[in-house]
Amino acid sequence: MDALLLAEQGLNGLQLGVMLFLMAAGLTLVFGIMDLINLAHGSFYMVGAYLTAALVPVLGNFPLALVAAVLLTALIGLAVEAVALRTLYRRDHLDQVLATFGLILFFNELVKIVFGPVPIFLNPPAALAGTVDLFGLKYPAFRLTILAVGIAVAVFLWLLIAKTRLGMLIRAGATNREMVMALGVDVRLLFGLVFALGCGLAGLAGAMAGPVLAVQVGMGEQILILTFVVIVIGGIGSIRGALVGALLVGIVDTMGRALLPSAFRMVMDAASANAAGAALASMAIYVLMAVVLAIKPKGLFPAA
């Protein structure tokens, strides 16, 4: 394997990691601060993708459709929090899992009723549809855009959490919720905002993933499992953990799929190398999770 190919696979790994980070950031915030296990996080990802696909032909412009879709997803999140989730904060995690699983079924059926069961069309904007020449490496422009958006979101979240009053409350809430309540902070408002932020991030992930992946009913559940792996590795409730965990998972998964089959071919025949390589590559991230948990049971960057 030459250096160029290795560089390309590295970029692929980073890009997958960034995509997972967009999902994981929202999930980990909601879990860390509100102590709510939200299985329906993937549904907001799906809603973001569908709204973007529906708005592009209406607004005639991808970035505009994306912003509108993210805001709408956040609003939907706000409504869901007020209607369905507010009563669940005091219940135990099993009740939350049950209720948010119900939300998954609800959103899947709703999207099917509104948009139909057939996957719908969403392509990158024309300017980003082709490839970019990076020192002789032709790389898809839209994947570079995902990378850039992910980095921008990471910086935005860092500024929000480290430099603003809201961020201070979020950090305080994650560390000791009872004390924050006792100090007179409007926790109901704080939770609503955090949940809307998480949903907006999931919507953004969906909008950015839409042009690369199939926009179809159930697309949220496919990525949700990977997202949970990321936040478990990173440490639940920690944005920094989500970033590191997402990049680790992205790179390990990509490199595993790229390198393992050819590595096995050095010691065995092609057919069994392909089979063994594929099997091990699909396990790689779970092995990573097991190793991390064995060494640091609370993840790499535990929040509290």
Binding site: F121, P124, A141
Partner: protein, 388 residues
């Protein structure tokens, strides 16, 4: 008390046997929820259209179609097989899309002597040593279509081909079938986890291997993911895609868009096949449902017509199972794909055509015939089937 109960049972038995003689009951078990529901909708609608074309009476009998959602889960499918045989007492079960579900249902259906007409699920296992007197397939063994794709790639003049498929039984079958038809060099293969979302790593490997063509088998959402990403990597024009028609049909073309145009994909059917049955089917489907039918709908339509023809041939007598089976084996119906007959393993002997994705006059993406790959082709598994 006991006597009343006995009398009631006798009465109900009597009633059910009378109704069974008058009504043809068919269990349509298919996927109506989740991502697979796209295909399930076409299976259901294709079947409904055939019943409508027969005036609501398949084989001249009052026809009752009992729909059920298998959720694409084998355990649910087995539960439904029990329900269909024990509670609904159907004479036929059809609708099944997925091989793993079909395999799970065969024992239950065969034990109760219920005929199982698969409109799609076409595992090689049921075509070979595990063939079953009560199982009929109106589609293909999945690897035989891949064999046609291999032969087609050969004809297109490709020498070095890279092969990719999901890592599950049908994925392995398909790649093996492709190798049977393609005589050139396989420069690499990759089996990806079932349901994988991002193919960037594999696409980079393909690009580095510089093959003449890339063979893929990615049905459903996986196909949409793959083709979009392959297009965005700028490879569609450099390394053409080849593969069986499953990955390039009506269920995904709308979501893939222009990227799919020009891809060659062999299959046993195409919407523009020129015969009276097919014209009636395609036009009827477009009028009734407002969309172009997929090959799934065409196969389900054929499944209904097979039942129709066989029941007619036995004069509506659903009791004599051996006679009904003989009638089914003779395939007494006009298929939308033209010439159709059953091999000894109850799988079709049929033509396989080369197709190409185009934009039709209304602007919709669909497939057009461009040639024929195999004429009157039988699969290689029939020789292992003990049925005669």
């Amino acid at each position: 008390m006991k006597r009343i109960l006995l009398a009631a049972t006798a009465l109900s038995l009597c009633a059910s046997s009378v109704s069974a003689a008058e009504t043809l009951k068919i269990g349509l078990v298919t996927t109506l929820s989740g991502p697979g529901a796209v295909v399930g909708a076409d299976i259901r609608d294709g079947f409904a259209l055939a019943v409508e074309h027969a005036g609501g009476k398949l084989g001249g009998l009052d026809t009752q179609v009992i729909e059920a959602d298998d959720q694409q889960k084998p355990d649910v499918a087995v539960g439904l097989a029990n329900r269909m045989t024990e509670r609904e007492r159907v004479q036929f079960v059809t609708g099944i899309i997925w091989s793993n579900l079909a395999l799970a249902m065969v024992p239950t259906l065969a034990a109760s002597k219920t005929f199982f007409i698969s409109p799609n699920a076409g595992t090689a296992q049921l075509a070979g040593a595990q063939c079953n007197p009560y199982f009929f397939n109106v589609s293909w063994p999945v690897d035989t279509v891949a064999e046609a794709a291999g032969q087609a790639a050969q004809t297109q003049g490709f020498k070095r081909v890279y092969a990719m498929a999901p890592n599950y039984p049908s994925g392995k079958d398909v790649v093996a079938g492709f190798k049977r038809g393609f005589k050139g060099e396989i420069v690499g293969e990759a089996f990806t986890p079932f349901g994988q979302l991002d193919y960037a790593a594999e696409i980079a490997q393909v690009k580095a291997a510089k093959p003449d063509a890339l063979f893929i088998f990615y049905p459903g959402g996986m196909g949409i993911n793959f083709i979009k990403q392959y297009d965005q990597a700028g490879l569609l024009t450099q390394i053409p895609l080849v593969g069986p028609g499953f990955s390039f049909d009506q269920d995904i073309l709308g979501a893939v868009g222009d990227a799919a145009i020009g891809i060659k994909n062999p299959l046993q059917w195409s919407p523009d096949l020129d015969n009276a049955e097919n014209k009636r089917f395609v036009e009827g489907f477009k009028t009734k449902f407002g969309r172009i039918p997929s090959f799934y709908a065409a196969q389900s339509y054929d499944a209904a017509k097979l039942i129709d023809g066989a029941v007619k041939a036995v004069g509506g007598d659903l009791k004599d199972k051996d006679r009904l089976r003989k009638a089914l084996e003779s395939a007494p119906f006009d298929s939308v794909r033209g010439r159709f007959r059953f091999n000894t393993n109850h799988y079709p002997i049929q033509n396989y055509y080369q197709r190409e994705v185009v934009r039709d006059e209304t602007g919709a993406l669909t497939n057009r015939l461009t040639g024929i790959v195999f004429t009157d082709h039988a699969d290689v598994h029939a020789q292992n089937c003990p049925l005669k």
